[in-house]
């Protein structure tokens, strides 16, 4: 009888010397070069700054970080693994396993912040809060519903890009806000490492989405695009309420919403779609932009500046074996 049972398929051994999609190798290299652990960030230098925050500000910060921990936990255990069965190349699966692991590092690093700065009871309270918070639970469920549907691989990718490139930002706003006021600057350094990773994850999953999407007939493409915009609207509704609940007390909600619009547009661009929110709705507080990317002031380029003067060639790493000059 045993002869009639279809044997379990054995995967192909992954050969990194035979690359089917150059982007797999590029992204693998970037992710591995960028590898980091929270121990490399001197979080204890923030102890004094932490003690200068009000009780309300501290509670908000811990709650925001437990919310971010939840998203990283989902992406580590469910999101990135859910994309593996749909991988086109064996290298793509390897990249997804790296993405999954880095999400675990991110989730772990919030606990490093907690153990360095906070009391156990404050942290326990915040984890309880996040487990019961209706908005956090609602947005998680919308994403998980897609991850649980094996029949629609491209919808899983859309949900994954929205998590990576949009849902984190209601939380990332706060450490950037503190950093712009010279508060918790080491914690902000750690968050910037997370933001850098999530940007590559959103780019890569969005790239793989586009490769699948372009092969579909027009009608299916239209249906998927409609799904993407409708999911984004639903997530945005929840995010707007979540932002109000968190940030109304500090009077920051409108500022946070501009940041959400700006990031929603970037998530759509990762998927190859056009922006949803008009530029006027995306005017992010310049202090937040400066905290996000220090040293990239837009005023010394020719088009934004006064006109006829510009500076050539700052000192940057220009070495690359491919340059002939």
């Amino acid at each position: 009888m045993k002869d009639f049972i279809c044997p379990r398929p054995v995967p192909r051994a992954v050969n990194w010397n035979r690359i089917e999609d150059d982007i797999d190798l590029d992204v693998w290299n970037r992710l591995t070069v960028n590898f980091w652990l929270p121990e490399k960030v001197p979080l204890s230098n923030d102890v004094q700054s932490w003690s200068q925050l009000t009780d309300e500000e501290r509670q908000l910060t811990i709650r925001v970080f437990t919310g971010l921990t939840l998203l990283d936990t989902i992406q580590n255990g469910i999101g990135a693994p859910a994309l593996m069965p749909d991988a086109i190349t064996p290298h793509e699966e390897a990249v997804l396993s790296n993405i999954a692991f880095m999400e675990a590092v991110h989730a772990r690093s919030y606990s490093s912040v907690f153990s360095t700065l906070c009391s156990t009871s404050e942290v326990e309270e915040a984890f309880r809060w996040s487990a019961e918070n209706e908005h956090l639970q609602a947005k998680s469920r919308l994403i998980l519903d897609e991850y649980d549907s094996p029949a629609t691989p491209l919808k899983k990718k859309i949900a994954s890009v929205f998590l990576e490139s949009f849902l984190f930002y209601s939380g990332f706003y706060l450490p950037m806000h503190w950093s712009s006021r010279a508060r918790l600057t080491n914690t902000a350094d750690l968050i910037r490492l997370i933001i850098r990773d999530e940007a590559i994850h959103g780019y890569y999953i969005g790239y793989k989405f586009q490769r699948g999407y372009e092969r579909l007939p027009e009608a299916e493409r239209a249906e998927l695009k409609e799904f993407a915009f409708s999911l984004l609207f639903d997530l945005y509704d929840i995010e707007a309420r979540y932002a109000e609940q968190l940030y109304d007390g500090l009077g920051l909600t409108e500022d946070v919403k501009s940041f959400l619009h700006y990031n929603a547009n970037k998530a759509l661009q990762n998927l190859g779609f056009e922006a949803l929110f008009p530029d006027d709705a995306c005017k992010v507080n310049p202090a937040i932009m400066a905290a996000l990317s220090p040293n990239s002031d837009e005023n010394h380029d020719f088009f934004s500046g006064s006109g006829s003067s510009y500076v050539i060639g700052k000192a940057v790493a220009t070495e690359d074996e491919d340059w002939d000059f």
């Binding site: 933001i195 790239y207 190859g272 990317s293 088009f303 940057v316 790493a317 000059f325």
Partner: protein, 141 residues
């Protein structure tokens, strides 16, 4: 002023160029493709692929193109794109090309650019072309 651009896996630069609505030459992805020849002064539009320390910011097809001294001699400026989520290495390809080739970074934008970016690039290119023409006349005089 002619435009030359590279667009990679995300297709963001290509989508920006399509919306910009100005004629532009795309650099091929593959080394085996026939090289792009330029015959008049041009501005390069280039995305950034740097790692965390800023290395390998300029895509290899762009490096191949700029390794040709004839192309380099006609390069007048660079418009660089990237993602501010990469912090200090945002649009780093522009800084590298500027330093290597001695041309200015004209503008930086994110991903496929916003409508505001497109407006600034169109008017900036027009001003820059006029500025360049004036400078080359002065040099000849």
């Amino acid at each position: 002023m002619q435009l030359v651009y590279f667009s990679g896996g995300s297709g963001n630069t290509a989508r920006m160029i399509a919306r910009l609505g100005l004629p532009a030459t795309r650099l091929p992805l593959r080394a085996s493709a026939p090289p792009v020849e330029v015959t008049s002064p041009f501005v390069l539009i280039c995305p950034t692929y740097a790692d965390g320390s800023g290395r390998h910011a300029v895509p290899k097809p762009v490096i191949r193109f700029l390794n040709n001294p004839a192309a380099r001699a006609l390069l007048r400026g660079v418009i660089a794109s990237g993602n501010r989520n990469f912090g200090p290495t945002f649009a780093r390809a522009g800084d590298v090309i500027s330093a290597k080739c001695g041309v200015p970074v004209l503008y930086r934008f994110e991903l496929a650019g916003t409508d505001t970016d497109l407006t600034r690039i169109r008017s900036g290119l027009a001003r820059f072309a006029a500025f360049e023409k004036e400078t080359s006349c002065l040099m000849q005089a």
